[in-house]
């Protein structure tokens, strides 16, 4: 078992938040650079932009598989091409790609001929094709997403606190931008399936953040008067750390199986999921609660038990209160265990001392 309980995650919150900020800024820079060099931050797929459609007949003896056609196309940065094979006439293929020049079209035809087999020359032509996701639909989708985020914010604000909601949304934005940064960097084509992957990330990130927030909420209820907000926060993160880790691993198993067995046709889909999964796990542990601690300055002035103060000051002596405290309530001793081993040691040594004294 990992020694998670002793980790001081909140203590390093400046570093962890800085890492998040840097990741976010990197994504923004990548998108800006792409925007100025490629004219758009993202590689919009044929669903968005429209493009060309090829209707070709292969003249090979054996029917050609979709996978081999895709293999050839991915060499031309057309990973997101929609490839359809006629079931009744397997030699016939319909391929939809983003807009390309005449020269590139010829290159693709030649590559297909070279690597797969000859194509009926009568079918060596292309036609323009319009987008299936029009500009209106795109605007609508953005609006929908914003509305969904707003509702989440509202729900978390009601069930938790407003700040918690803001924090969760910021984590979500972080995860999305990191994923989008990767999409932009590797020029992954945005199509319906990559949008689905991005949505999945949002769902995952949200789930992860709320589970941690729930723990903070619960611990606040029990320890509000005994510990500082930062201490409660650290305890909450460390106790849910294993859960976050285990859940991420199981989800990762699913994603990796998909990546491994479904191969190149799903490479973009699984890449986005993978990046989002890592970002989502990071943000829930190292962004959501640390950010809340930063916003919680006024809570630093809190009444604390004497023994904790003494502990921090390094004087582990005196005070019978510790013993009283530990014998009174089991749960509260555990807090001490969570915070530091020294607390336990102190109490045990004290017990021993007491025993000696009695003798």
């Amino acid at each position: 078992m990992l020694p998670v309980r002793k980790w001081n995650i909140i203590g390093y919150r400046k570093t962890s938040l800085r890492i998040a900020l840097i990741l976010f800024l990197c994504s923004v820079v990548i998108m800006t650079v792409r925007n100025s060099t490629n004219g758009s931050p993202f590689n919009l797929g044929v669903d968005f932009t429209g493009g060309v459609v090829m209707n070709i007949d292969f003249m090979t003896e054996e029917p050609v598989s979709v996978a081999t056609v895709r293999e050839v196309l991915s060499g031309f940065n057309q990973d997101g091409a929609v490839i359809q094979q006629d079931k009744n006439h397997p030699e016939h293929y319909m391929i939809r790609m983003t807009e390309i020049t005449n020269h590139q079209q010829d290159e693709i035809f030649d590559a297909l001929q070279e690597q797969i087999g000859s194509i009926n020359p009568d079918t060596r032509q292309t036609d323009f094709i319009g987008p299936t996701i029009g500009s209106e639909l795109r605007k609508n989708a953005l609006l929908t997403l914003s509305l969904a985020l707003l509702l989440i914010l509202l729900y978390v604000a009601i069930r938790f606190k407003f700040k918690d909601g803001v924090s969760a949304i910021i984590a979500l934005i972080h995860d999305m931008s990191v994923a989008l940064g990767v999409v932009s960097l590797f020029w992954i084509q945005l199509n319906t399936s990559s949008i689905a992957a991005l949505l999945s990330i949002t769902a995952y990130s949200l789930q992860d953040s709320i589970v941690i927030l729930d723990r903070v909420r619960e611990n606040l209820k029990y320890y509000k008067d005994k510990l500082t907000y930062a201490e409660i926060a650290n305890m909450s993160i460390t106790t849910t750390w294993i859960r976050s880790f285990n859940t991420s691993v199981t989800t990762l198993i699913g994603v990796l199986a998909l990546a491994f067995f479904m191969g190149s046709s799903l490479r973009d889909f699984t890449t986005i999921l993978l990046v989002g999964l890592l970002a989502g796990t990071y943000s829930s542990l190292y962004i959501v609660v640390p950010m809340l601690v930063n916003w919680q300055k006024e809570n630093e002035r809190v009444i604390r038990p004497v023994y904790l103060n003494a502990l921090e000051a390094g004087t582990t002596t005196t005070d019978i209160k510790t013993k009283k405290y530990s014998s009174k309530n089991k749960d509260e001793v555990i807090v001490a265990n969570d915070l530091s081993d020294t607390v336990k040691k102190t109490s045990t040594t004290k017990k021993k001392n007491n025993k000696k004294r009695r003798r």
Partner: protein, 470 residues
């Protein structure tokens, strides 16, 4: 907290039984729907005005403009405009140069093509065919992809059916049909001398239509008239006064962007009821899955291996608790599939994304509770009490995270496109199935074990008691 909840068991047994039935029934009757990417479907190419040749088109690259929504209007204002007295119409500037292409030749305008696309989309959506896509190809063709269908005739039937435009009164009596509608156009109209220009739709009837429309409006002054395209209600404007001239105007109460958009859409659909272009089927094909047959076969293997790996992982970490979790996951898969097949959801790539996430969520519910049980046991609770506490404390986290997700998915479903809808519905199904199995089922089975064997070894369940002081 400590008693066994038999109600949970009964619920689960019933749900699993229904799910199993749904799976068997849908598989046997071959009603599982897959998206174009997973199974393929029917691919149709429609040609508007069949004579244009594709050779000619590839030479002249005329790009179809997506945003061509503005239409030109003829200045045919007359004094008998029924709605307002002093009507000043303004001619709209033609922004799309393609519109200048003469309509007398075989060439159809991009506006007409776009209109045809919208009508076909509406028609397919009205029939509840999920995840169908319609796109414009070249400048005279429309591609329609309908996933999951293999019956070309049935698909052609859906699209080829002529949409009927009907005007009905409150009782549902048909007053007049689209056959007699000569023209429906979007325009702007100045309501008062100094007032704002409001979006309107102008209607123009032929002789017979004029008569029927006059009669219909006479009988329904002050009441709404509903306009249907097939079975879909487009709009039901109120009749202000009897309209006998044959020219009518529908106003949309405002000049904001929304009413402009609505007016444009209604105009297009009213006009589309009497499609100006002749559509013929140029190509009809049954296509294979766009992801490729091999990929599909591999994905099944991948899913099974992922499932086994997750189960193994759970058992390794949580011992007997993990076994319970694995059992729950098995039931989860049954309920999940049963539900998806039951509601006839289309299984496609977005849905697979949702599935992976929801499997993660199902396991997550388990992990949250199991970790909590471990913690509580380590505090010195008994096995039974640790289980009770684990489920009680885990509940708020599970409830809140799932409920927030549910809200988000409802929004996505109500406003999203068909594919996004597919995603949302798949995820919601996953949330519900996960809750039933990973929370309620494991809660039942663990409390059952704990109550009946109070001295069960915590070690067997991967639990460690409190570290002893002495």
């Amino acid at each position: 907290m400590k008693r066994i909840r038999w109600g949970q068991l009964i619920t689960i047994v019933v749900v699993v039984a229904i799910s199993l039935w749904s799976i068997v029934y849908n598989y046997n009757s071959n009603q599982v729907k897959y998206g174009l990417d997973l199974r393929g479907g029917v691919h149709l190419v429609l040609e508007a005005e069949a004579i244009t040749t594709s050779e000619a088109l590839t030479e002249e690259k005329v790009v179809v403009e997506e945003t061509a929504t503005e239409t030109s209007t003829e200045n045919n204002a007359n004094d008998e405009e029924p709605v307002e007295k002093e009507v000043t119409e303004e001619k709209l500037v033609v922004t799309n140069e393609d519109l200048n292409a003469s309509t007398e030749t075989n060439q159809i305008t991009s506006e007409e093509l776009k209109l045809a696309k919208i009508v076909i989309e509406k028609r397919i959506n009205a029939l509840g065919v999920s995840e169908a896509t319609v796109s414009i190809q070249g400048n005279s063709r429309i591609i329609v992809d309908i996933p999951g269908y293999s019956d070309i005739d049935q698909a052609k039937d859906i699209i080829g059916r002529v949409a009927v435009l009907t005007f009905k009164d409150e009782e549902g009596n048909v007053l007049v049909t689209g056959k007699n509608l000569k023209k429906a156009e979007f325009a702007y109209q100045q309501m008062e001398q100094t007032g704002p220009r409001e979006p309107i739709v102008q209607l123009e009837w032929d002789e017979k239509g004029k008569e029927l429309f006059a009669q219909g409006t006479q009988n329904n002054v002050g009441k709404p008239i509903s306009i249907f395209l097939d079975d879909e209600l487009l709009i039901s404007p109120k009749v202000n006064e009897a309209i006998t001239s044959g020219d009518a105007v529908i106003t949309f109460g405002g000049k904001n962007e929304e009413s402009i958009k609505e007016a444009q859409e209604v105009a297009i659909l009213l006009q589309g009821g009497s499609l100006p272009v002749k559509m013929t089927f140029l190509e009809e094909r049954v296509v294979g899955p766009s992801l490729g047959q091999d990929t599909i076969k591999n994905s099944k293997i991948g899913a099974i291996i992922a499932f086994l790996a997750i189960i193994l992982f759970l058992m390794l970490i949580y011992k007997m608790l993990g076994v319970m979790g694995a059992l729950a996951l098995l039931l989860y898969v049954i309920i999940y599939l049963g539900f998806l097949l039951g509601i006839k959801a289309t299984l496609s790539l977005p849905a697979i994304g949702a599935m992976i996430i929801s499997v993660g969520m199902a396991v997550d519910s388990n992990v949250i509770v199991f970790e909590r049980i471990k913690e509580e046991y380590a505090k010195g609770r008994t096995f039974l009490s640790a289980i009770g506490a684990g489920y009680a404390h885990g509940w708020t986290a599970i409830f809140d995270s799932n409920f927030a997700m549910l809200l988000a998915m409802i929004i996505l479903y109500s406003f999203g496109t068909t594919q996004i809808r597919g995603f949302a519905i798949t995820l919601v199904a996953g949330i519900v199935a996960a809750l039933v199995t990973s929370y309620f089922f494991t809660q039942f089975i663990l409390s059952f074990v704990a109550v009946n064997n109070p001295k069960v070894s915590g070690k067997l369940y991967g639990l460690k008691g409190p570290e002893k002081d002495d």
